[in-house]
């Protein structure tokens, strides 16, 4: 028993290095995809303190809009542009209808409002596009879909999916772009000011409404990118919405407001759950992936209640 837990997994890693590398690669890719979802959460949380549960359904909605437009005869890249426009309208609508009337409400109310939004978007999305899964138009968007196999010694093989590589590249580009946006532009700075204190930001003449519409739009773009990537891996369907739950432990680890944190948290969860599942999961019947991420996050939390990148909290009275 002890051997199975403490020694055997490492022996396996050593004996099948190609497989271990493959596991690491899968963990990396999963981590990047989790990070992309988490990124959407972070953007909105940073600017409005809202924990946006609707990010998951926004991913689905963006993906469905893209594919839905394409299926109705719109050329792929025009569909992409139109989807961006749709996400912009959605962001504006959410800001107008949901966020603005709820300014200064407690966190939990805002959280609930985004879950309400999730329900609405599920109904709305299915109403327009139907419930059946759709194939992502990866090729039409000039995304690579093939795979490369790297041989390693005898029988050794690492298979890299091109779409996964593309996902990683896109994630890195998005994070860099957002980093520049936050730190170098006027709107970005205003956004951080809003994050610190809504009322103070208002009092120095920053338009909250404008800022919120912008971050929801940015989150919408992230959702679109995530939707394309996840969609290309499986399919665009409403079942995808559930993957968004995985963003939570990522956020815990990375902190709710840190963009690099989202990436690093995503990678920790990605690596952690793949390695855990493949080398230890079998001991308890498998499927531990469904909760391992949360337990990892929980353990981190017990030692660092402020998250990996948060500052130590000094409680005051």
């Amino acid at each position: 028993m002890l051997y199975d837990i403490f020694i055997d997994p490492f022996v396996q890693m050593y004996q099948m290095p190609d497989f271990f590398l493959q596991v690491l690669w899968e963990g990396f890719v999963a981590g990047i995809l989790y990070a992309l979802i988490a990124l959407g959460f972070v953007l909105i949380f940073k600017a409005s303190g809202v924990f946006n549960f609707a990010q998951g359904i926004m991913v689905v909605f963006a993906g469905l809009t893209l594919v839905g437009l394409y299926e109705n005869g719109v050329p792929a890249f025009v569909a992409l542009a139109l989807t961006i426009v749709v996400m912009g309208i959605l962001a504006y609508g959410i800001e107008r209808v949901v966020m603005r009337p709820l300014v200064n409400q407690p966190d939990i109310i805002l959280l609930m409002a985004t879950i309400g939004l999730t329900y609405f978007l599920i109904g709305f999305g299915e109403f327009i596009f139907g419930g059946e899964p759709k194939r992502m138009i990866a090729e039409e968007l000039w995304l690579p879909t093939g795979s490369t196999a790297i041989e390693m010694g005898e029988r050794g093989l690492i298979i890299l999916q091109h779409i996964d590589i593309a996902a990683a590249v896109i994630a890195i580009i998005m994070v860099t772009a957002l980093g520049i946006f936050f730190n170098k532009t006027r709107i970005g700075r205003a956004l951080r000011a809003v994050a610190d204190d809504h009322q103070a930001a208002l009092s120095v003449g920053i338009s909250l409404n404008q800022i919120w519409a912008i971050v929801w739009f940015a989150a919408g773009l992230v959702a679109l990118a995530t939707g394309i990537m996840w969609g290309a891996r499986s399919d665009v369907s409403f079942a995808l919405e559930i993957v968004a739950f995985k963003a939570l432990p990522v956020l815990i680890l990375g902190g709710f407001t840190s963009i690099p944190g989202a990436i690093i948290g995503g990678l920790i969860i990605g690596f952690g759950e793949k390695i855990g599942e493949l080398y230890w999961g079998g001991l308890v019947g498998g499927g531990i992936e469904s909760w391992l991420a949360y337990i990892i996050a929980l353990i981190f939390l017990l030692f660092r209640p402020q998250g990996l990148f948060g500052e130590k909290i000094i409680e005051r009275v």
Binding site: Q22, V23, E26, P133, S234, S237, K274, L278, E289
Partner: protein, 443 residues
């Protein structure tokens, strides 16, 4: 505060409407047979559910349009959306059973399990065509539940039989590894006891890869495990979004597709198409015909779909799952017809319908008469055997469509039947006091 008055007024009105409107009317047109269809066109399993729902509804609608119903009595068809959710399913059941429902098709193993004990109490049969509780095939214990043409155990035995054939005989399975990837719910776990039994009998190793419902679209771990274990064959019990994802992942790890076999619910065209060109060679069980070359399907197109009386996309007609839905409705319709013959009544009750289903005999001649010659294997229900363990065939994805590649393969009745009886006994014991069968055998 200003909102409040309007709100109060609004909710008072809403409540009034709710109390008045929600209570379903028991008063149904006297001269119709009421068939509720529990379907799901929403939720994570909609991808599979929509085709089934279309097929079921369209065939019955066609009978109404073409023949004016069955035996001169129209069918009242009502869909109730379950979203594959057991709670909503039960709610649909409760809402519709009072309207003199003839039969329920839950289309979810979870909902089926909930309805099984209710069936005998409410006297409405449950038809779970090729899914649900395998043990329900034992008519002596489950007089109200029908799972023609096959149970999952029949299906699993056919898969093993087929693999044995590929290997040149079942005895060659010794030492082989067979992977089983399944939706980790009642549905996917159902065949495990049989597979385990066969594994010990033929000496192959059974490797299990459960896919949790909420991780359906994130199967990379399961397939990495497959890659490590290198099973000789893969068997899949998937549904909804699990199917296309699994096929994609299999392609990704370069698993030989011709050694990958799905159950009849993993046999959708969309599922296989998701894998792209490399999915060629993927196999799946089936018991209903593929394609549009059947008179009945042409009639559906003519009377229903082209007439704009159905939401069905004409291109999806003839697909595996659509045709599966049609077959389901054929069984319902034939059950009704048989019941009308037995009882001499035109407007039936659930009890009549039970007798009808129990005396169902869909022979070749009858199938041809229905315009469905060769659409399905002839099937017959007896009082003892509500599934019948009918032969199924295997179809292969050629990159564009499924092609039938084997003849009809008989399930291993000798293995399956004793297991079924044992399971039925076990069920009755666990749910003691389980009512003993009092219904007379109509045959």
């Amino acid at each position: 505060m200003k909102h409040f008055k309007n709100f109060a007024l609004g909710s008072a009105v809403a409540l009034g409407v709710a109390l008045g409107g929600v209570v379903p009317q028991a008063a149904q047109a006297e001269d119709a047979n009421y068939v509720p269809l529990l379907t799901y066109r929403t939720g994570p399993y909609a991808g599979s559910g929509i085709h089934i729902a279309n097929g079921m509804a369209d065939y019955l609608a066609m009978l109404n349009e073409r023949d004016g119903g069955i035996g001169g009595v129209k069918l009242t068809i009502e869909e109730c959306e379950t979203g594959y959710d057991a709670q909503k399913g039960v709610e649909c059941y409760e809402a519709t059973k009072g309207k003199n429902a003839l039969v329920y098709n839950p289309y979810s193993t979870g909902i089926t399990l909930q309805l099984i004990p209710k069936a005998s109490v409410d006297k409405i049969p449950v038809l779970s065509m090729g899914y649900g509780l395998s043990a329900a095939a034992v008519g002596g214990t489950f007089p109200w539940v029908f799972n023609v043409p096959d149970t999952y155990w029949d299906g699993a035995s056919v898969v093993i039989k087929y693999i044995g054939e590929q290997e040149g005989g079942l005895e060659n399975l010794k030492g082989k590894k067979i992977g089983y990837i399944f939706l980790d719910a009642g549905y996917g776990r159902e065949p495990i006891p049989l597979l385990e039994q066969l594994a010990s009998k033929y000496g192959f190793e059974l490797l299990q890869y459960p896919v949790p419902g909420k991780e359906m679209q994130n199967q990379s771990s399961q397939w990495l495990n497959v890659r490590r274990d290198r099973p000789d064959y893969m068997v899949m019990w998937g549904w909804g979004a699990m199917n296309p994802t699994a096929i994609k992942e299999a392609v990704k790890i370069r698993y030989p597709m011709d050694k990958f076999i799905g159950v009849w619910w993993s046999a959708g065209e969309d599922d296989a198409a998701a894998g792209g060109a490399q999915a060629k060679g993927y196999k799946a069980l089936n018991f209903s015909g593929v394609g549009m070359d059947f008179q009945a399907l042409q009639d559906i197109k003519k009377y229903v779909v082209d007439a704009g009386k159905s939401p069905t996309d004409p291109e999806s007609m003839g697909g595996t799952l659509y045709n599966r839905g049609v077959l389901n409705s054929v069984i319902i319709a034939e059950g009704i017809r048989a019941a009308q013959e037995k009882t001499g009544k035109k407007v039936l009750t659930g009890e009549d319908m039970r007798m009808g289903l129990e005396s169902l005999n869909l022979d070749e001649a009858r199938l041809a008469e229905l315009g469905l010659g060769g659409f399905a294997h002839p099937m017959k229900v007896t009082c003892e055997d509500h599934a019948g363990s009918h032969p199924v065939f295997i179809q292969e994805w050629d990159g564009e469509k499924f092609v039938k590649v084997t003849d009809w393969i008989e399930p291993m009745k000798d293995v399956v039947r004793p297991l079924l009886e044992e399971a039925a006994k076990d069920y009755a014991e666990k749910n003691a006091p389980w009512p003993a069968r009092t219904e007379a055998c109509p045959n």
